[in-house]
Amino acid sequence: MRPWRCLAAVLSVAGALVPVAQAAPVFRLEEGMPPEEAAATRQLLDEAAARLPATWAQALDRPIDFAWRDDLPGGVHGRAHAWRIGLRRELLQAWMARPAPADASDQATHAALAAALHELAHLYDRTRAGRLSRDPRLLDLAGWQEAAWRPGRRGRNDFRDRSPDAYELRSPREYVAVNLEHYLLDPGYACRRPALAAYFDARFGTATPRADCAPGLPFVRDAVRDGTGPQLVDPEHIHAVDYLLAEGNSRPMSRWGHGMLRLVVCAPGRQRGPDCRLDLQHHLVLSFRAFVDDVQISSWRGLTGSYPSRLFALPLGQVVDEYTRVELRGLRSVPLDLRRDEIEALATRAAQLHWNYDGRYFFVGNNCAVETWKLLHDAMPRLAAMGLQSITPNGLLARLRRAGATDEAAIPVDADGQVRLGYYFAPANATYDGMYAVVREELATPQADAAAWLELEPETRREVLPRAGLRAAAALLVLESAAVRREEALARDELKRRWLDKPEAPGGTGELAQALREFLRLGGAFSRPASWLDGVPGYGLPQAQEREVLERRVAADAAARARQAQALEAGVRGLLSPRRRAALEGAERNLELLGERLRSLAGESS
C-alpha cells in the first residue's frame, strides 16, 4: 500500500472565505499534484462540498487530506481514514475527460461526486455531530432490527431486495454512506426511500422536495381467486389500522393464533372517517407468513430458519374466508390508536417491507408476532418505546392493550355490533345449528342437529331441496357450503395420506407436473413482489417507469395463475378415490341445485 506522503497545506480558497455559519470543509491536496489535476480536484471537491447540508459541512471542522490513489482493490472507489480521503484515480481521469458542461446526470460526474460524498459521509458519521450509524432510529429504518428474545440487534439485515447498492448491507456505516450519497445526488431518493429521506431531512434541518413521486403506495395482492393488478394505497385514504388476530384452535400449528395488520382503506370518493370501516373490498391485510413450497411443514426447517418470511398483502375478503369459513376460526380486528402521521409512517414502512424485505422465518424467534411487532416498532418511535415485543400473537395484542395503543372506545360494546361492523368475524360454524333448526322446522327432517345432518350422504340431503321454501333454502345454502368445504378438506387429507404413503404417483401426472411447476413459480412471484421487477432499474418503492412494467407483468401472471389453478384442480381431482370424488361432487351438485332453487324463490318473492 502506498503510504500517505507529507501533504502540503493547500487550503481551499473558497473554504477559507465563507463565513463560519456556512463553513465548508477545508481540503488539503496531496503534495505534487500537477496543476491541471489539482484544479480539477478542487472543482470536484467544491462541487461535492456545495451539496452538503450546512450541519454536515460544519461538523467537518478539521482540514481533510485528499489524495488520488492507484492502490485500491477492484470495485472500491475510495477510502476514508481519520480525516483523510483517498479516491480511485480513474475517477479523476474520467472527470477531466468530461464534455464541457456536465451535471450530475453525466456518468463520470456522478461517479466522482458519489465517491467523494460517500467518503465525506464516512467522515461525518465519525464526528460527534454525526454518529448516524449508531443511532437506534437509523438502525430501525435501515433494517438492523431489534431482536425479540434478547437485548441488542440482529447482525443481519434482510432488506435485500431492490437495494440501490448491495454494498450498503455490509454494515450500518456503509449503509449510512451509501444512503447519504443517494440522498444528496438522486432526485428520486425521497420517493424511493421516503422514511430515510425524512430522517435525514430531520437530522440536517433541510427539506427534500417530493413533488415528482409516483402517487400512492403500490402493493401486489396475493389474491388466489382472481387476477388483479397492483393496488395503490394512498395513506391519506387510510382511516385506521387494526391489529387483526386470527384466534387459535387446537391444531398445533394454530394454537397461538395468527397476528396481522388491517389497513382500513376508504373507498374512492368516501370521506375519511368511521364509514370507511365497511369499505371491506378496499381493506388490505398485511400478513407475515413463511413461504412454504412444500405440503409437509417441517418443524426442523421452521426452527432453523430455512423458510423465507415475507410480508403478504391480501384482500380482506380472502382472509375472512380462509379463517372463518375454511379453518373455522374467529378473526378479531382491534383498531390501533395512532396519529395521522403514524398511520402514514406505518403504511410506508409496510410498503418498504413488501418490496425490499426477504427475511427468514423462525418458529419462535421470528414468527408473525415478532415480525408484526418489528413493523410497528420500526415505523413508529412512540410504539417502539412501549416495550411491546412478544413471541405470540395473543401476547402482542395483550401488550398493545396494556400500553394503551389500542382504540378501545371505537369498538362497539355489544357482540352483535362488533360482528355487524367488522370488529369481529365469527367462525362460520357458529351458525350451523341455528341454520339447521330452520331446515328442521320447515321440512321436518329427523336429524337432531347440524352435525348429524351433514353426516348424511349428499344424495340424501338433496331429497329435501325441491320442497324448501326461501328461508329453508337459504339455511341449506349455508349448510351445503359448509359441506363442500368439509369435503374439500377430506379430499386434501386423502391425497396427502395416499400420496405420501405411496410416492409412486398414479398415471397421467406428466402434464400435471409441468402445470404444477408453473403454478408454483407464479405463487413464488406473488410472495416476493421484487421478483417482478428483476432486470428493471430502480430501487426501493417502485416509481412510474417500474410501475408500468409491474402492471403488465402482474396482470399477465395473475391471469395465468387463475387459469393454472383451474387446470390443476381438474387434474388433481382425477387422483381422488372414486368414493371421495363422488362425495365432493355430490356436495357441489347440491350447492348448484340450491343456487337454482334460490334464484327462482328469491326472484319471485321480491
Binding site: 388466489v224 381467486r225 382472481d226 387476477g227 388483479t228 393488478g229 397492483p230 393496488q231 373507498a267 374512492p268 365497511l278 369499505d279 371491506l280 373490498q281 378496499h282 413450497d293 412444500d294 375478503g317 369459513r325 355487524r420 367488522g422 351458525t431 341455528g434 341454520m435 330452520v438 328461508r471 337459504a474 339455511a475 345454502l477 349455508v478 357450503s481 363442500v484 368445504r485 374439500e488 379430499a491 386434501r492 391425497l495 396427502k496 400420496w499 410416492p503 404417483a505 401426472t509 404444477l516 403454478f519 408454483l520 402482474v554 396482470a555 391471469a559 387463475a562 387459469r563 389453478a565 383451474q566 384442480e569 388433481v572 348448484e592 334460490l598 334464484r599 324463490l601 318473492s605 321480491s606
Partner: protein, 103 residues
C-alpha cells in the same frame, strides 16, 4: 422429484380448492367464474366481488329472519344502495334476497 411434485400438489390443492369454493359462491359451476374476470382493479369490479362474497351472509340473514347481520352483508347492502337509487328505497331483506337471486 416425484416426492416434491406430490407434496407440492397438495399445497396447490388447498389453493385450488378455495378457488372452486369462490366459484360456487358466485353461483356458477365450479371453476368457471374467474376465467372471464378482468385484471382490472377498478372499484366497480371490487364492489361486484363484495356482493358476490356476501352470498352466504345474505343466506344467513334471510334464514334467520334478519337476526344474523355480518359486516359483509352490511357492506354489500350499502354498496347496492349507493350504486342503485331504486335499491336505496328497498328493505334489507329485499336486498338480501336480491343477492341470493343473483347468478
Amino acid at each position: 422429484m416425484k416426492h416434491y411434485l406430490l407434496t407440492a400438489t397438495l399445497v396447490l390443492l388447498g389453493i385450488a380448492a378455495s378457488h372452486a369454493l369462490a366459484a360456487s359462491f358466485a353461483g356458477t359451476s365450479a371453476g368457471a367464474s374467474s376465467a372471464g374476470s378482468s385484471a382490472s382493479s377498478g372499484s366497480t369490479s371490487g364492489d361486484d366481488k363484495l356482493v358476490r362474497e356476501a352470498r352466504e351472509d345474505a343466506a344467513g340473514f334471510v334464514a334467520s329472519d334478519g337476526r344474523l347481520r355480518s359486516a359483509r352483508l352490511e357492506a354489500a347492502l350499502r354498496v347496492m344502495r349507493e350504486r342503485d337509487p331504486a335499491a336505496a328505497q328497498a328493505s334489507d331483506l329485499a336486498l338480501a334476497r336480491r343477492i341470493l337471486a343473483q347468478d
